[in-house]
Amino acid sequence: METSRRMQRTYLGVFVALAVLTVFEIAVTYLPVPRIPVLVPLALIKAGLVALFYMHLKYDRRVFGLIFGAGLLMGIGLILSLIALFAPTLVDVK
């Protein structure tokens, strides 16, 4: 029961962090700061919180993280490869 209450507090804490970070991200768009260096890390932190705590990767068997991590690595590799491929022609928008 104590573990359950502790976990519920963790879930609530993660929720508050996600909400606060989202508000902060939106606020950043109204400020004269470069967006990508600020927003991308924030998004990755939020995604990490969901994966580690809500999806229980932090508490579960490592094999699940390895399986998911393999897919994530492939996805990230795909993104970086295509951005590099199109880099000379990428347009700065908005």
Binding site: T22, L42, A47, V50, M55, I76, L78, K94
Partner: protein
């Protein structure tokens, strides 16, 4: 721990984990590649549209911010549902699963509203590159949310029939993992499409 049987596992497996859970994680890994391909296509095509509307003209950040908050809330209710059945609270499980499904429906309603507003501005799949990549990316995500809501419905039906217990609640874990992944993808999409 090196026991061959994980909690709620009915058979011995080579890795000592439930095959269903391993399968879901493999699915989520493949979905990560899938959504990465859609996201990077959106990114490299950004700004290349010959005609409008452009993202700046068309996108409604406040509406989507509310929708994002709805989905974040649904992740909390989903994990709370799992926590409930882990301590044997079947009523709590049903209550929080219903809340998750309703929030999922609310998110889909928000998406439908946004799509309608965008269509009224002349944006469509065939209008320009922005329309094509935007609707493909967010449309596929919306389809995943819809599938998740339907899946939650099946688990809920099973819960009402007494088929989900403290000893046997893998169904809730599996749908929960899928649901959190859908939220995780939206976190990335919201940042990449609406904020950057």
């Amino acid at each position: 721990m090196s026991e061959a049987l994980a909690p709620h596992q009915s058979e011995v497996t080579a890795l000592g984990v439930d095959n269903r859970k391993l399968g879901i994680w493999a699915l989520l890994g493949s979905e990560a590649v899938f959504f990465s391909s859609l996201i990077v296509t959106y990114l490299v095509m950004r700004g290349r549209s010959v005609t409008g509307p452009t993202p700046r003209e068309a996108l409604n950040v406040p509406l989507t911010a509310v929708n994002t908050f709805v989905l974040i809330c649904s992740s909390l209710t989903m994990v709370t549902a799992l926590a409930a059945i882990q301590r044997g609270d079947t009523r709590g499980l049903r209550r929080w699963l219903i809340a998750t499904a309703l929030l999922g429906v609310a998110f889909l309603s928000g998406q439908a509203t946004e799509f309608t507003l965008l269509a009224s501005q002349g944006l469509s799949l065939s209008r320009n590159l922005f329309g094509a990549t935007f609707f493909t990316l967010t449309g596929f995500h919306g389809a995943h949310v819809l599938a998740g809501v339907i899946w939650i419905g099946f688990v809920l039906a099973r819960a009402f029939r007494g088929g989900v217990t403290q000893e046997n609640h893998m169904a809730v874990e599996l749908v929960g993992l899928y649901w959190h992944f859908v939220d995780l993808v939206w976190i990335i999409i919201f940042t990449v499409v609406y904020l950057i």
